[in-house]
Subunit: 340 residues, 2 copies
């Protein structure tokens, strides 16, 4: 089959990869109509995370089940399914508490490489959620968004306790940040402050429900959020970048007793204990347990209540994956969909 | 009046201080039958926090109202009252959300020096809570504990979400840690792991409700907590020390999705963002909003449901405050009460 492989920073190629096959009786093989490039793929693309030799890429996927292992019970060949970037058994104590991305049997999907024609999904029963029927093509981008960026933005908004009466600020205007805006709106937030200096992203944020745009960053961004919130800071702040600056901006934009939901994969972040102590913020986040939210998100998409697929502002055939990476790296695209 | 003044690390003296008087119409002056030495007083006693010249000491207090300013409405002279280490208006949006120790008008009591015969309490209406009547002497230690260490341990247990069905671990066997054990018990925790290597403290922990004692520290302590919790870690961990080691021990002892309540005043702590991200723990804490809990805590003490005063294992006259500091510094006493 054809699939994306990263050979070095900046060097992603579509090449022939071995067809995946059932390795464990709990596996399933799915055929992908589409996949996409994630902001987190850029960490290795930019050389900030190192790779260990040529690496299959991609961890976001939807598709039709081609084959299911002998112990798979809930998922049948022919179904259209969505899963997330960690396979999970969905039965252990951690999964049952809603933290499937820390499942005691979790397996990262990324190493199987979802930017490809086919994908092996471990723990299929616990990982995959089927749609009511085969979706029309125009729903595929939104369903694909649910696999990671929507689920991640949603988790950020949930742990930031976005809801009625709340002012929510979102740090980061990538796909996750923009979908955290959508999530905050769905969760009933009263006011949603999107922090962005890029006009197309500002427009999408407003389309998703943002009520205010803040273009300032760092301390100036914090000051602006405080200005908008009677000097107190936002009740809820979603951090969707993962750098020291963005984490501190999120913490400092939050009022005492407020909640920071941080979902940007942390890179080089060191949090000063004293400042955190006296900030009185609640801090929670990490790799989103997207599986927790998939049934609800699929229903919202299926009934066309939300359209998270709008974050894909560039669609390319899989063969042009390299171009897709480049567009995201240069921020000329918010998120790139790859038709397989 | 007589009061404690720190002149330098290790040098606390009882000397003549000016009698406090009403400065703002919202102040009250109280006469203290007892006060005490706090673990956090040791940061400056040990020279870890610097002081700016001779400093009145103490921030824990109970007492009888001697005089109330002209705008004080809820508190009358003659009442026996308890307050906490930050004066708060108890009406601002932050107070109403339960974070009185981050009140927009907060004033630290410490700079007024509660290790003394009299104390000026700002914002008396928002800060002080009166007991039903003048308490018998034997209740005074427990009521005094409510002023800080009980309220702080309680906050730690509440934000760690101690409760029915939960396994709670407590890092730190000072007065706050021991009272977090008591709080976890009162909140209905199923299992309470006290981390202590000191026999008298272990005994008090068991008396307060601990079901398990772990003597190991650092990584060994973490491994032991995991062993006791099916490899997962505790649901709830209270951190009651404030050092890098204790914070990391607390975070690593918590299962994914679990809660760390950190109430040890952080000193020199830097939290690694990546580890925190992938730990999936909820992190919350800071200076306890004791005022939030005072009515409930006073009721529990008044009805003799709890006896937090047991943490005072050394009682001295105020004149011997220096000896009290020394005993706490050497850990020969858990907590020292000073009769005035």
């Amino acid at each position: 089959m054809r699939g994306a492989v990263m050979h070095a920073p900046g060097d992603v190629r579509i090449e022939e990869r071995e067809d995946p096959r059932i390795l464990a009786p709990t596996d399933a093989i799915i055929r992908l109509p589409a996949t996409c490039v994630c902001g987190s793929d850029l960490w290795s693309y930019r050389g900030i995370e190192s790779i260990d030799g040529p690496s299959p890429m991609g961890h976001e996927y939807v598709g039709v089940v081609e084959e299911a292992g002998s112990e798979v019970r809930n998922i049948q060949p022919g179904q259209f399914v969505i899963g997330s970037f960690f396979a999970s058994d969905n039965t252990c104590e951690i999964c049952q508490a809603g933290y499937q991305s820390s499942c005691i049997h979790r397996e990262p999907i990324g190493r199987n490489g979802a930017q490809a024609e086919y994908l092996r999904v471990p723990l299929a029963d616990g990982t995959l959620v089927a749609t009511p029927e085969i979706p029309p093509d125009d729903l595929i981008p939104s369903l694909l968004a649910a696999s990671d960026v929507l689920g991640t933005g949603w988790f950020g908004a949930v742990v930031a306790e976005a809801g009625p009466g709340k002012t929510v600020a979102v740090v980061g205007d990538g796909a996750v940040g923009l979908l955290a805006v959508l999530a905050a709106k769905q969760l009933g937030a009263e006011r949603i402050i999107a922090m962005s200096r890029h006009e197309p992203r500002q427009k999408l944020a407003i389309d998703f429900g943002a009520t205010d745009i803040v273009t300032e960053r760092g301390d100036d961004g914090v000051a602006r959020v405080k200005e908008l919130t009677g000097g107190l800071g936002a009740h809820s702040v979603v951090e969707a970048v993962g750098t020291q600056e963005s984490m501190m901006q999120a913490i400092r934009s939050t009022r005492p007793g407020g909640h920071v939901g941080y979902v940007g994969v942390a890179h080089g972040v060191e949090l000063p204990g004293e400042e955190l102590f006296f900030s009185h913020v609640n801090l929670h986040g990490g790799p989103a347990p997207v599986r927790r939210f998939l049934p609800e998100l699929i229903e919202l998409i299926w009934n066309r209540k939300i359209d998270p697929g709008k974050v894909f502002d560039l669609s390319l055939p899989l063969e042009q994956a390299a171009e897709g990476y480049k567009a995201m790296d240069e921020r000329s695209a918010i998120k790139v969909l790859l038709w397989v």
